[in-house]
Symmetry: C2
Subunit: 128 residues, 2 copies
């Protein structure tokens, strides 16, 4: 693995850790990871813009949840200078014995400040 | 849904139909959908380049398979002028009673000839 590849794998891993920790402990802060052009497809519903995405995520019909990550794959998104991140895992909801399996992909785009924001986010539960 | 959105949804749907039909009936032709910069992550293994990806896909340890698609989500990939496609479904192998659930994402990038090629491809089985 060359240095560039190590670097974007570190960014992807750090993003995944940060995203799901925020989701599970302080979901209202998630909107700070998106901007006005960001798109979320959540179980087929399309939402655009950081504020709207933040509202959608904070209004999901459960207060607490816990994500356990199974796999993280990432690839550079060359023309955009971004990173594609593909995650699979389990989601546990309060009072539910069974875990829900999910898959989710993100496209992270670099900002002028040297950070990244989420341009694209597609989430699906994997019904068994 | 505006006209641009309708158009890239049609491209995504046509691509998905074409890709899995080729996979299930003429897998050796899949390499024509990629180019030299294309990347495939297949169950965590990274492969780059149309020829190498074609070899990997044609050497998978089964001769025949059948994909059944459950969901297709797509979003524009604005900076690259491309389309992100996220697929979930079931894969049936010969002699296997149970289906394997999978998730797969593609980034399609427009060519100068007015077509698209697969820049990014990430495939994961969703173990139950």
């Amino acid at each position: 693995m060359d240095k560039g590849e190590q670097q974007f794998e570190m960014v992807a891993k750090a993003f995944v850790d940060h995203y799901y920790l925020l989701f599970d402990t302080n979901r209202v802060e998630l909107s700070s990871l998106y901007n006005q052009t960001s798109m979320l497809s959540f179980e087929g519903q399309k939402i655009q813009g950081a504020e709207e995405i933040g509202m959608k995520l904070s209004q999901l019909p459960f207060d607490q949840c816990r994500h356990a990550i199974s796999t993280i794959d990432c690839q550079p998104s060359p023309l955009a200078g971004g990173i594609l991140v593909f995650v699979s895992g389990n989601l546990q909801l309060p009072g539910e014995e069974h875990h829900l399996k999910f898959s989710q992909m993100f496209q992270l785009i670099p900002t002028q400040q040297g950070s990244f924001f989420v341009q694209n986010d597609i989430f699906r539960l994997n019904y068994g």
